[in-house]
Symmetry: C2
Subunit: 141 residues, 2 copies
DNA sequence: CTATTCTTTGTAGTGACTACAAGGTCAACG
DNA sequence: CGTTGACCTTGTAGTCACTACAAAGAATAG
């Protein structure tokens, strides 16, 4: 079960791109990857350089936190070489803003959690646990 | 449709705790809230001070990023007032570590995105978009 | 030919809700 | 007492981006 000149089989594409066959089939199903053709002698999906490139792009964009919807959008945009790229720019900035919002929330969270863990010096009985107390756990005064 | 002395109705509990009736019913269904009793003359769920306290606790813990599974755990632990609170302490520290990991990831992400948005001065044609290029978008050289 | 390892499809599960639809009940107003 | 309208009830399906599995088919090595 290795690739011939007919192209990569799904597990090879997966390995090349740091994904899994399941994810690749999923991407095909939801339409971010085109239906692979099944040439060669078998009924298996076969992939070429174009597919490697496209999937690599998808993974990079996903790693940057873009939703599959936005990835679809980016792919579509990149196929219109003569249009201006303002929309791509906008999507990237939007994502940056979203990440910044999330970062702020997480920092606030971290602060609260850090205070929480500092207030408990372990070895208490549950009923006097300062963590539970400051969360207002049920069953205390 | 207001509360009598039989207790709060679900929408009132929701308002008191910053949730929605849907979420409350969901919590009951998955067992972090006990099945409400339906006293009074009707068949509606009725809630008392204990429920307000419990749900408030749940929301606070969720806001700190604890999973519902861990919340269930914390609630269970807090009901054993004589046991030592080491486990609670451990769960909180574990969550802090998880948040720190996530923060690190997000900061790396932010960096990459920020570089990405800075490299595009808009108004380009798609085919020369530096954002798409650095993501390795399909259909370029 | 057979054994093994891949592939295929289809379906269901994850977490933590959220959204709806069809029907029941409450309190109040006239 | 009847009706209105706001709320409740249950049950089911949808979200997001996968992940897991089962049953069956195909490719390859020996």
């Amino acid at each position: 079960m290795t690739s011939t000149d007919a192209g990569l089989i799904i597990s090879e594409l997966a390995e090349h791109t740091g994904t899994t066959p399941e994810t690749i089939r999923y991407y095909e199903r939801v339409g971010v990857l085109p239906a692979a053709d099944r040439k060669g002698n078998g009924r298996y999906r076969r992939y070429g350089a174009t597919d490697v490139q496209r999937l690599t792009f998808i993974r990079r964009a996903r790693d940057l936190g873009f939703s599959l919807d936005v990835v679809r959008n980016l792919l579509h945009l990149s196929e219109q070489p003569d249009h201006p790229c303002d929309e791509v720019d906008r999507l990237a900035r939007e994502q940056l803003v979203a990440v910044d919002r999330k970062l702020e929330q997480l920092l606030t969270l971290r602060d609260a959690l850090s205070k929480l863990t500092q207030c408990c010096d372990s070895g208490h009985a549950m009923s006097e646990c300062r963590i539970l107390n400051s969360l207002g756990a049920p069953g205390r005064a």
